[in-house]
């Protein structure tokens, strides 16, 4: 396990001095429901990508290819916004 720093070794006032650090925070463990994509139904409109608050929609060559489950919190916004009902929220344990 990583040894945590003491109070004399950390930046003042709780600042995070490195930019772009949110990616290091693995919020995927917060999830209760996970989004599952029906590739057949998806027309790659990318509305899910626009709405996802955690940039967890993975897009390759302008096509929706899946989810970043390390960071997706399972909020379900993508499923609610999908005009093709191509995303289903599935209870983690039942998957």
């Amino acid at each position: 396990m990583e040894k945590k720093k003491g109070w004399k070794e950390i930046p003042l006032g709780g600042l995070i001095t490195e930019a772009g650090n949110a990616a290091e925070y693995e919020t995927g463990s917060w999830r209760t429901f996970k989004p599952v994509l029906d590739q057949e139904a998806c027309n790659n409109c990318l509305i899910c990508w626009i709405f996802c608050p955690d940039t967890s929609i993975v897009v390759e060559d302008e096509e929706m290819v899946g989810f970043d489950y390390v960071h997706c919190k399972g909020c379900g916004i993508c499923a609610a916004e999908c005009p093709k009902k191509a995303i289903e929220m599935v209870l983690e344990q039942e998957e």
């Binding site: 003491g6 109070w7 930046p11 003042l12 006032g13 709780g14 490195e18 930019a19 650090n21």
Partner: protein, 398 residues
């Protein structure tokens, strides 16, 4: 002209105008405020300075004190020297943001024009507002008169911005009794104040620093405690920073400000402890009692946070009885805040004095020499008999 050779002017000013004058001379980058009696005239005077172009300050007139303190936090984090002021319920509305300002280590300074908290609703002086926030992480200094309101605010800025400290500071003065009472105030020249506070050097500045960083992120059981420990360390450096700032201020003003001020207390059997304007009344009563041959003294407490523990023990250790006056009730506690702190400071004194507490002046109840004489009389009775009948009494309540 002050004894120091600095060309000062003496002008009659109410406490609010004296404080506004300090603000004008500091010319802060940002002021965010909301009006509330008895602070209103302070911010009104400052707003006039802004309107007249006498300062370059960005004055943000917010929709509440919660927003005012939040705007101060944002401005200070951006790298601006930031000031504000409030009273009573407005102060209470700032509450959660007070802690955030301190934990982000932003040296915002604020005048708190002391007023009783509701309810019942009241606009007059007591210390229930600022005393409630004694654990918020801010430095706290109580002024006795308009002169001190002016002087202490300048000193507070310098100490708060000291990079060993980096904590916000509030300067208190009694609502109406000081805020609306005109006295002669010696004002330093603008240049002297400008030179004294110096250019603002923020520890971090979101708008000025080239490298981006995050302010105020989530901080759980893994690091919250360490950040609080850092904040405590800042507080522990505050007494030295205040002393240094006060010493430098004395060089230009000729006025010396320690964390406390004793008056005829060295050989006194009974010493009264008071904060704010009541210290002036107590000084008069001490003189009256001394004329009657009674060994009475006063210890005016100026700095409440950080509490000057060793100095208090040193100043009061030889008394037989200490009478602590508190303009605030601490419901359910054994005595009021100053009493608790003073009594605790005396615990390790070899022959510790007996300590009694008087709650007085709540909601602006006038506390004249007669009432303080009553408190002293009980102090002398305790000193002579060695017996405390009642630890906490109430002066002037029916």
């Amino acid at each position: 002209m002050a004894k120091t050779g600095v060309k000062t002017v003496k002008v009659p000013l109410a406490g609010n105008d004296a404080a506004a004058h300090a603000m004008k001379q500091v010319n802060p980058d940002v002021v965010a405020a909301y009006p509330i009696t008895p602070q209103t005239e302070l911010m009104q005077a400052f707003a006039q300075f802004v309107a007249d172009g006498e300062v370059d300050t960005e004055l943000i007139t917010t929709e509440s004190e919660h927003s005012a303190m939040s705007a101060c936090v944002g401005a200070a984090a951006a790298g601006a020297r930031t000031m504000t002021a409030t009273s009573a319920n407005g102060f209470a509305l700032m509450w959660e943001v007070l802690y955030i300002a301190a934990s982000l280590r932003l040296p915002i300074t604020m005048a708190v024009v002391n007023r009783a908290l509701s309810g019942p609703i009241n606009i007059h002086c007591d210390h229930s507002d600022s005393m409630g926030a004694r654990d918020a992480g801010w430095m706290q200094m109580y002024a006795e008169n308009p002169q001190e309101a002016y002087d202490l605010w300048l000193i507070a800025i310098k100490a708060a911005e000291n990079h060993d400290v980096l904590l916000p500071a509030m300067v208190m003065y009694d609502g109406f009794i000081i805020s609306h009472t005109m006295e002669v105030v010696e004002i330093l020249p603008d240049e002297a104040v400008k030179e004294y506070v110096g250019p603002y050097k923020p520890a971090y500045a979101m708008l000025l620093d080239e490298k981006p960083f995050t302010v105020g992120p989530l901080d759980f059981h893994d690091y919250y405690f360490e950040h609080k420990r850092q904040e405590i360390e800042g507080t522990e450096h505050a007494p030295a920073a205040l002393a240094e700032a006060a010493a430098e201020y004395a060089k230009i003003s000729g006025r010396h400000y320690g964390p406390l001020e004793s008056y005829r207390a060295d050989d006194a059997d009974v010493v009264m402890v008071a904060l704010g304007s009541t210290a002036g009344t107590a000084r008069y009563v001490v003189d009256v009692l001394r004329e009657q041959g009674k060994a009475a003294g006063l210890m005016k407490l100026r700095t409440f946070r950080p509490f000057p523990n060793a100095e208090v023990a040193g100043a009061l250790g030889n008394a037989k009885c200490v009478v602590v006056c508190d303009r605030v009730a601490s419901f359910g506690a054994f005595g009021s805040p100053t009493f608790m702190e003073v009594r605790s400071a005396l615990y390790e004194v070899p022959e510790r004095p007996l300590v009694i507490n008087y709650v007085y002046g709540l909601g602006g109840r006038d506390t004249g020499p007669d009432l303080l004489e009553q408190a002293f009389a009980e102090g002398f009775r305790v000193a002579e008999t060695g017996e405390i009948k009642q630890h906490v009494g109430y002066l002037g309540v029916r």
